[in-house]
């Protein structure tokens, strides 16, 4: 045990969620002392306390960070400054229409089956383990999740800009489980970003890995651990050097950061936010497990960049902030879709529950206070969905969707959270225990509105 300056150690604030303004009175010092004793290893060595089981993940949490995964060699290919292949924008009919195209519907059907048969049954354990099972990740690759956002010319499946299809897929996956949805969508999000903004060289260097058989984990790292974090003003910096950039900063809530082989990192360059492709074996990168309230199956991590040197070709897209802003919006769109899917899962779950659960001699669904809660879930959920779809359709058509995605995000963050809250409330005590999934959805839905990046459509 290291010896800290005694006075600093006696102050209660600044750790354990205690504000620095708190002071201890005599009883407080006594309790603090007891608490220290209770935490001491000696109790365990003497067999005085039952060993608590600890997941591997939380062990890493308590101390050390590790270097990032070794990345494969991405073979440089293609012309450095040539524009990459771009999917054309969706042509618009000018008609109000809520019917998905045949292709989109097929996609939704396949993903819905995957979400129902594979994702949902794995969700509980994956949440506890803070990791997605290999079978789920592999099945996700098998149905082509990483290449959904890529045009045919780049080895993908879409003929047009696929923001709408991506939104429908994220919604369907979110209905299975938000954490596993993020884990399975994260690599494809990086591929989609390279498809959208990459140069010919960036596309030919990185995309073959995503369209081939051995798809790497990859992550879009935009969030930072700052209160009132504004994604458009990242504190991570990119400094120009003679032949590239040096990146410094910290990114939080990065999905599957420990195994990722490629990162897209947001950083400020010359006063504007920009995106950079960073291979995981680049020196100066370290990663630390950072499990959160929810979305745990996505193995969230903190990524540190300490003097990370990247070549000039690492810059992804424009330096005027436009690429970065579009990336932020498309990521928010993906989170909205996940919220819609998760909120739908809540509605699907509480509907039969309140009809079966009896109190005072009849199903609780027969009471207006219960039934109206369900009605409001249905109403707000559909509003969330329509707001999200509107933003997605505009994005796919190449129209400005800044306003639309902001309105969708506002609804998905607040109404989505309310739905999570009501989901637990409707089950009462049963909602609070892990026997039912509603407490997980409650934790997951809190991510909406604060998560930036990680997934993108």
């Amino acid at each position: 045990m290291s010896l800290l300056p005694p006075l600093a150690k006696l102050r209660p604030g600044g750790r354990h969620g205690v504000a620095t303004t708190e002071t201890r009175d005599p009883i407080g010092y006594l309790v603090a002392g007891l608490s220290k004793l209770a935490q001491a290893d000696v109790l365990d060595r003497l067999g005085l306390r039952k060993q608590a089981e600890q997941a591997v993940f939380t062990v890493t949490r308590s101390g050390f960070s590790t270097v990032t995964a070794a990345s494969r060699t991405f073979m440089r290919s293609g012309t450095k400054d040539a524009a990459g292949v771009r999917a054309p924008a969706v042509r618009r009919s000018g008609q109000f229409d809520l019917t998905p195209s045949e292709d989109e519907q097929m996609l939704v059907d396949v993903v819905t089956e995957f979400a129902t048969e594979v994702v949902r049954p794995a969700a509980h354990d994956a949440d506890a383990a803070c990791a997605a099972p290999q079978e789920v990740l592999e099945a996700g690759l098998e149905i082509g999740l990483p290449i959904l956002g890529l045009p045919e010319d780049l080895g993908g499946v879409s003929e047009e800009r696929s923001a709408m299809a991506g939104t429908l897929v994220a919604e369907a996956l979110g209905r299975g489980d938000m954490g596993l949805a993020v884990a399975t969508l994260a690599p494809g999000s990086v591929a989609t970003a390279i498809g959208l903004w990459g140069t010919e060289q960036q596309q030919q260097t990185y995309l073959p890995a995503f369209t081939g058989g051995d798809v790497p984990a990859a992550a879009l790292a935009l969030t930072e651990p700052h209160v009132l974090f504004d994604a458009l003003s990242p504190r991570t910096t990119a400094t120009r050097t003679a032949d590239g950039f040096v990146l410094d900063g910290v990114k939080s809530l990065v999905p599957r950061g420990a195994e990722a082989e490629l990162f897209v990192v947001g950083a400020e360059l010359d006063g504007q936010p920009a995106l950079f492709l960073v291979e995981s074996s680049t020196p100066g990168l370290s990663v630390e497990a950072d499990p959160a309230m929810g979305v745990r199956a996505a193995s969230l991590t903190t990524l540190r960049l300490d003097g990370v040197t990247v070549p000039a070709t690492a810059l992804l897209g424009a330096t005027d902030g436009s690429t970065y802003a579009e990336c932020v919006r498309l990521a928010r769109l993906a989170w909205c879709a996940l919220a819609v899917g998760t909120a739908q899962a809540v509605l699907d779950y509480v509907t039969p529950y309140v009809k079966e659960r009896e109190a005072f001699g009849e199903p609780i669904a027969h009471r207006q206070s219960v039934a109206f809660m369900v009605a409001n879930i249905a109403i707000e959920l559909q509003a969330m969905r329509l707001l999200t779809w509107k933003a997605a359709a505009r994005a796919a058509a190449g129209k400005n969707f800044a306003r639309e995605v902001a309105l969708a995000r506002e609804a998905c963050a607040h109404k989505g959270m309310q739905i999570g809250l009501d989901g637990v409330q409707l089950l009462g005590g049963h909602g609070f225990v892990k026997e039912h999934p509603v407490e997980r959805w409650y934790r997951d839905l809190r991510a909406i509105g604060l998560m930036e990046g990680a997934v993108l459509v």
Binding site: P363, H366, Q382, W389
Partner: protein, 404 residues
């Protein structure tokens, strides 16, 4: 086919025209008739003539109160943007001008929507061009419309109506009233039918006009029926009392009118939000859609929440109308749209008054008026609570006996 939720291109001209009419004809007289309650807004006659002209030329695509009829044309399977969408869009714009005045628009009464929804072809022809109010509520019966006491007794070729109806919008000014009455109180909902009663029919009289919180430009009447005789051909729809069909016939009107009322709430709230956006900008507050709401001012964050709620309500309204245009059953979605629009309409207009402080509260601006006008839209054509009941029953698959 592709998902797209922007306003349909083919109705943008129509909505644009309605916006111009609202701005240049309704707004200038908006405060005048709010103050002069019960005075007939004579300016509307010219406007109504213009709207008739528009619909005859086909430019309006059949939009308006009667635009809710679901014709039985063969379905070619394609996506349709038709009269229902045109109606909600144009009504929203007119109510951006003034809800009370829209409700006073000749030949655009809720009774017209009822006729359009359930009349047969012969009746449709006979009642063409009438202005019909809607008489459902009674002193002892509000939301519980299955419990109405006004009776209709067949006597020869005529029905004899007896009862008292309250809260009849345009009950004084309209030239016809669609009245809900029961053929036999013992037979419950199935016996409730609607009757078209021309003004001036002996036995029918307007008893009084209400003084109201809002929509003061619109007259709200109490009408008494005492041995009022109407031809039996004025019964809308089928005269059979079919317990299986139950209330469905009469209630079908609501599937069509609820999105229209949602449109009124959205139009009114949009007016408040549009003005508030500008007043806030004058005060140095501009909403940034990309920055987190919590990193902006409290006023900007509040505005963002209001705008999001309003846009959500609007999309639910467009969905309900689109489903009607495509002949999909939309009872659930119609109630969802009215529930959301009703409560959002109140929240937006009241919050805009708060955001604008004494400027919002004073009669020098219209914000306080919109905050009064909006309240009725969460009440008539089915209150918030009735909409939630309908949504809950549909979502949970419960009958009205199970979920009371």
């Amino acid at each position: 086919m592709a998902i797209e939720l922007d306003d349909p291109r083919k109705f943008r001209t129509l909505a644009g025209q309605a916006h111009q009419v609202a701005m240049n004809m309704l707004r200038p007289i908006s405060r005048k008739y709010d103050r002069a309650e019960h005075e007939y807004p004579k300016e509307l006659d010219m406007l109504a003539a213009m709207i008739d002209g528009l619909s005859e030329s086909g430019a309006g695509e059949g939009a308006g109160a009667a635009g809710v009829r679901r014709d039985e044309k063969a379905d070619d399977g394609g996506n349709k943007n038709g009269a229902n969408l045109a109606s909600v869009m144009s009504i929203q714009e007119m109510c951006w001008g003034d809800v009370g005045l829209l409700l006073s628009m000749p030949r655009q009464g809720l009774g017209n929507s009822a006729i359009a929804s359930v009349a047969d072809e012969e009746q449709l022809k006979r009642f063409e061009g009438v202005w019909a109010g809607m008489a459902i509520t009674e002193p002892g019966t509000g939301s519980d419309s299955a419990n109405i006491r006004t009776t209709a007794v067949l006597d020869g070729d005529e029905y004899v109506l007896n009862g008292e109806k309250i809260y009849v919008t345009s009950g004084d000014r309209a030239d016809h009233v669609v009245v809900w009455a029961t053929l036999d109180r013992d037979l419950g909902r199935a016996a409730i039918k609607s009757f078209v009663v021309p003004k001036g029919t002996p036995g029918m009289r307007v008893d009084r006009l209400e003084h109201k919180l809002g929509i003061r430009a619109s007259d709200t009447a109490t009408i008494i029926f005492e041995d009022c005789r109407v031809p039996k051909e004025n019964l809308l729809g089928s005269a059979d009392v079919d317990p299986k069909q139950g209330f469905a016939g009469a209630m079908a009107t609501f599937d069509n009118t609820r999105p229209l009322v949602a449109a009124m709430a959205i139009g009114c709230a949009t007016a408040a939000l549009d003005l508030t956006r500008e007043l806030l900008a004058d005060a140095g507050v501009e909403v940034d859609y990309d920055r987190p709401a919590l990193a902006q001012s409290a006023a900007a964050a509040k505005f963002l929440q209001l705008e999001s709620d309003l846009e959500g309500a609007r999309l639910l309204m467009l969905q309900a109308a689109w489903m009607a245009d495509n002949r999909k059953p939309n009872s659930l979605e119609a109630s969802m749209s009215k529930a959301k629009a009703g409560r959002v309409g109140s929240d937006v207009t009241l919050s805009c008054v708060e955001l604008c402080g004494s400027v919002g509260y004073s009669e020098s601006e219209l914000l306080e008026k919109w905050a009064r006008d909006s309240k009725i839209l969460d009440i008539f054509e089915g209150t918030q609570q009735i909409q939630q009941l309908i949504v809950a029953r549909r979502v949970l698959g419960l009958s009205s006996a199970e979920l009371k």
